[in-house]
């Protein structure tokens, strides 16, 4: 087997402060990396295509460093990583749809984002007119007394669209196959040639529930590429916004999961707390989701004394009310009956897929970008990362519960040590092409942003990878052997993003 290539590994502080360069590798070395991934030496952070090349970002967990490898694909093909390392499969299918690059040797050559409805093929590659596509072939299922239940893309609740095909024996699910891509908006191509301001606008609208996290990831990539020194107060305010966003989402999820287990009272209670967070965000930063508040170079709004007071009062209120909700969850046997043991995600799967956030941490994967690939302001804060090993819906609820508590602690720490000074600095092009990498812990897990800028500071390529890319496949595994009626519960405990995944 070919020896592993010498990649340019970079530690977290360094890649956020300076431009990033991908290491060019030969096809045989690329394949050697794929083997190293499948052997568990590294974690796949993402895989994407560029004009005439394929790239993958790798994380070396032990050494806390990352690298990007780039293989030439000028011939229109590159060696498949997915055939050796399953987590790369859907990313490769997406790259093939968008750029027309073939992952050679891939086991699954079906389109993924392209449903044959765009009028063109390979919108970021040759952009040739659409040829009629055969109907999407779901994987064959064979066996006695099986029946199929197709669900979606339109779902019963107020949620995003996607298609789920269940194969069941009686009530028990023997296979779930997902089909996504319905919310594909073509963000990658809208990014091409865009100004940084326009890029930030799009990044903040990639997955609405994570608008702060996406904006920070995009800003990090810009600031690294152009070596921008961001004021310390801006970092602190970004931290406050990011934790408020996490708080709001986790509170909503805890209630939502309980509601899907027919315990509506919890949703009403956490819904009150969530609404209070959004109102505080509006009072402090001028928008309930804090959209467009984080921009390359800093933040667009400063926090005044009144805003600080509102956030302090909010945290005091949550600290006061949340413990009794936790007790309510913990002592309601009928609820536990639904969540304990349901939707098991094997620790090995979580590790192999590099599943981020509560999905990974509930299955023993002890990883948090804020701690392991640290960035400001978290380098100045005490941060605990909860990990559990039960791997079920209940564990995913508990991770969220603990993180709600930690959010309160982080916000208090930040408010107690708010630096003074400016909140925004100028971002100017540097007269040469540059690339940068951003990595941020959103509420769902780690969000990656890869950005290549031209000499004028316009966007050549922007690739954003939602945590859901590595969580959706695990949902297929989690539901196996469960009853169909438990799917909403499992699904909500994952709460994957459709829009963030479909782009």
């Amino acid at each position: 087997m070919t020896k592993l290539p010498d990649l340019t590994w970079t530690r977290s502080r360094d890649f956020r402060a300076a431009p990033f360069s991908a290491t060019p590798v030969r096809p045989s070395e690329w394949t050697a990396l794929a083997h190293a991934l499948s052997a568990g030496h590294f974690t796949l952070l993402s895989l994407w295509a560029e004009e005439g090349a394929a790239c993958m970002a790798l994380h070396d967990a032990d050494a806390r460093r990352v690298a990007v490898a780039r293989v030439d694909a000028a011939t229109g093909a590159f060696p498949s990583v997915g055939v050796h390392h399953a987590p790369a499969q859907r990313l490769e299918r997406a790259a093939a749809d968008l750029f027309g690059l073939t992952p050679e040797g891939a086991a699954d050559a079906r389109p993924w984002l392209d449903h044959g409805r765009w009028g063109i093929r390979h919108p970021l590659g040759g952009a040739s007119p659409d040829a009629a596509q055969p109907p999407y072939a779901f994987l064959p299922v064979e066996g006695d007394s099986l029946h199929q239940v197709p669900v979606g893309p339109v779902h019963a609740g107020i949620i995003e669209p996607g298609h789920f095909r269940f194969t069941a024996q009686g009530e028990t699910v023997v296979r779930l196959e997902e089909r996504l891509g319905y919310t594909h908006k073509g963000i990658d191509r809208l990014m091409r040639g865009a100004s940084l301001a326009r890029g930030a606008e799009l990044a903040g609208r990639t997955s609405g529930d994570s608008t702060v996290a996406y904006s920070v990831a995009f800003a990090q990539a810009v600031e690294a590429a152009l070596s921008v020194a961001v004021p310390r107060r801006a970092f602190a305010l970004r931290g406050l916004m990011a934790e408020l966003e996490r708080l709001a989402n986790h509170l909503g999820d805890i209630g939502g999961i309980c509601n899907d287990a027919a315990f509506a009272m919890m949703l009403a209670q956490t819904g009150i707390l969530r609404e209070n967070v959004l109102r505080a965000a509006h009072a402090a930063f001028g928008h309930r989701f804090m959209r467009d508040r984080v921009v390359p170079g800093g933040v667009a709004v400063d926090l005044d004394a009144e805003g600080e007071a509102v956030i302090k009062a909010l945290i005091a209120d949550i600290r006061d009310r949340f413990p009794s909700l936790v007790e309510l969850y913990d002592t309601t046997a009928s609820l536990m009956d639904r969540t304990v043991g349901t939707g098991h995600v094997a620790p090995d799967l979580a590790r192999r897929f590099g599943a981020g956030g509560y999905v990974g941490r509930a299955s023993g994967r002890d990883f948090d970008t804020r701690r392991d690939l640290r960035y400001a302001p978290y380098d100045m804060l005490r941060l605990e990362v909860p990990v559990r090993h039960e791997c079920d819906v209940n564990a995913r609820v508990w991770i969220r519960i603990r993180e709600v508590e930690h959010c309160c602690s982080l916000i208090t720490q930040m408010l107690n040590a708010l630096p003074t000074g400016p909140v925004l600095t100028e971002v100017a092009p540097v007269g040469e092409p540059r690339a940068g990498l951003g990595l941020v812990e959103g509420f769902r897990g780690d969000i990656l942003a890869w950005l290549a800028l031209d000499a004028e500071g316009r966007i050549n390529r922007c690739h954003m990878r939602d945590p859901s890319w590595f969580q959706w496949p695990l949902l297929e595994a989690a539901i196996e052997g469960n009853i169909i009626a438990d799917f909403p519960l499992c699904n909500k405990s994952f709460n994957c993003s459709y829009s963030g995944h479909d782009l």
Partner: protein
């Protein structure tokens, strides 16, 4: 749990005790809405929602309508799971080509008379995704729209106001589709 249930019985509803920044407007809105829905549609209006490609931000605010602060159902408005039970279709997002058919079919499955509310800046004309190869346009590129509620995302009060406006218009002779 018993404590919560008891508290729920004893305490005045949150909707009244928690003062809103624009509490007056909210109360007026609530009163006006309750009156109109009652006269026009008996007591209730069933809403079916379709996300036609949104970023999911608009969905979050639609979900918030059901929290105890806004409590949509007290106005006789409720979300239903099937288009066949719905009077109103709410649609968010730029309509992606991948979702256009599903949206059309949902609309077709609704019995007449029916109304469509397009929610959010994206639903107007595609918003910041308008020029994409993957986007068909705003909601009216696929189904006729009766009302558009702007915002990114429109907050729950804006959503409530929009729904009142639609109900008002239903009474003023605007033809449904």
């Amino acid at each position: 749990m018993r404590r919560y249930l008891l508290e729920g019985l004893m305490r005045r509803p949150l909707t009244e005790t928690a003062p809103l920044p624009d509490a007056d407007a909210q109360d007026q809105l609530a009163a006006a809405f309750a009156r109109t829905v009652r006269t026009k549609l008996g007591r209730s209006l069933a809403i079916r929602h379709v996300d036609a490609g949104s970023c999911n931000g608009c969905e979050l605010e639609l979900q918030a309508l059901s929290n105890p602060f806004y409590d949509l159902e007290r106005f006789g408005l409720h979300f239903v799971a099937s288009p066949r039970h719905a009077d109103v279709l709410t649609v968010t997002g730029p309509v992606t080509h991948n979702m256009a058919e599903a949206l059309r079919r949902t609309y077709d499955a609704m019995p007449s008379p029916k109304w469509v509310i397009a929610i959010g800046d994206c639903a107007k004309c595609g918003g910041c995704f308008a020029d994409s190869y993957a986007v068909a346009g705003g909601v009216d590129a696929v189904v006729p729209v009766d009302l558009h509620i702007p915002g990114c995302a429109p907050d729950p009060t804006a959503l409530l106001k929009g729904m009142v406006a639609l109900v008002e218009r239903m009474g003023s002779g605007a033809e449904p589709n």
